[in-house]
């Protein structure tokens, strides 16, 4: 028997076809449709729609809540972003981060202003924190910003 998670994965991917780079769905509706626990949807997203898989998720809770899934196109640009993203991992020094930002600028994926902005975002982490923690924070911040760039409509 086919796995539920696989069915949900296919279903979502069928919505994200060549036309739609982006879909929005209601977690509860989808769970209803597949007769499963709502958290099953989170499981599928967490295991099959991660940035490493080339997807970005946004969501909101409360009334009118939703889950938005954005597919990254596979252009050179996206591949570069993807590569940087994976390279960053869970910990990176600010020096390395600066190099990545510089590369994005050189490749004209971001403007010089944006490059400065990104560097600025990483700098205050000259706060008194253990080095390991600082690098983890740096990695988290940079990855988050790279995802934001990846989501742009270009």
């Amino acid at each position: 028997m086919r796995l539920l998670s696989d069915s949900i994965e296919s279903f979502i991917k069928s919505l994200l076809d060549s036309e739609n780079m982006e879909i929005e769905l209601r977690r509860n509706e989808l769970a209803q449709h597949f007769q499963c626990a709502p958290s099953q949807i989170n499981y599928v997203l967490a295991t099959r729609f991660t940035p490493d898989h080339g997807y970005v998720i946004e969501s909101r809770r409360g009334g009118g809540g939703f889950i938005r899934i954005v597919r990254m196109a596979s252009t050179n640009r996206e591949e570069l972003l993807q590569a940087h993203y994976q390279r960053i991992g869970t910990s990176i020094s600010t020096a390395e981060a600066a190099r990545i930002i510089d590369n994005l600028k050189t490749e004209e994926i971001i403007t010089p202003d944006e490059a400065s902005l990104m560097l600025a975002a990483l700098s205050p982490q000259a706060v008194p924190l253990p080095l390991a923690m600082k690098d983890a924070l740096c990695a988290g911040t940079l990855r988050s910003m790279i995802l934001s760039i990846a989501k742009r409509r270009i």
Copy 2:
């Protein structure tokens, strides 16, 4: 389905167009119009028309009462950046930070892409840190980014 709060927000903003920096409305009338509880109006004002969003609210109770919504005149770029910078201080919640970023976007001091980038830079700070520390970090990061914007050649 569209959210009631969003509809009310749009409605108010449509009244506050390029001509009108300031409108006056009756809370009960507006609530009537949207068939909702009067306090819903307060909710919308509290979440979408704060000073951080670039609005000031004045009101009066009793007979002839009213709510006046004033869109702050866009001070020049430097003053606005300065004001936000000082407002941030040493600690700020991500929710408030988001409002400030939104205002910078509305005032066209940063592009929508840059706004997303800044929001992204603040988001991973949803990392397990004590709240006070998180807000301090958020403040530091945002201040640093605002300085970077202030330094731009325009």
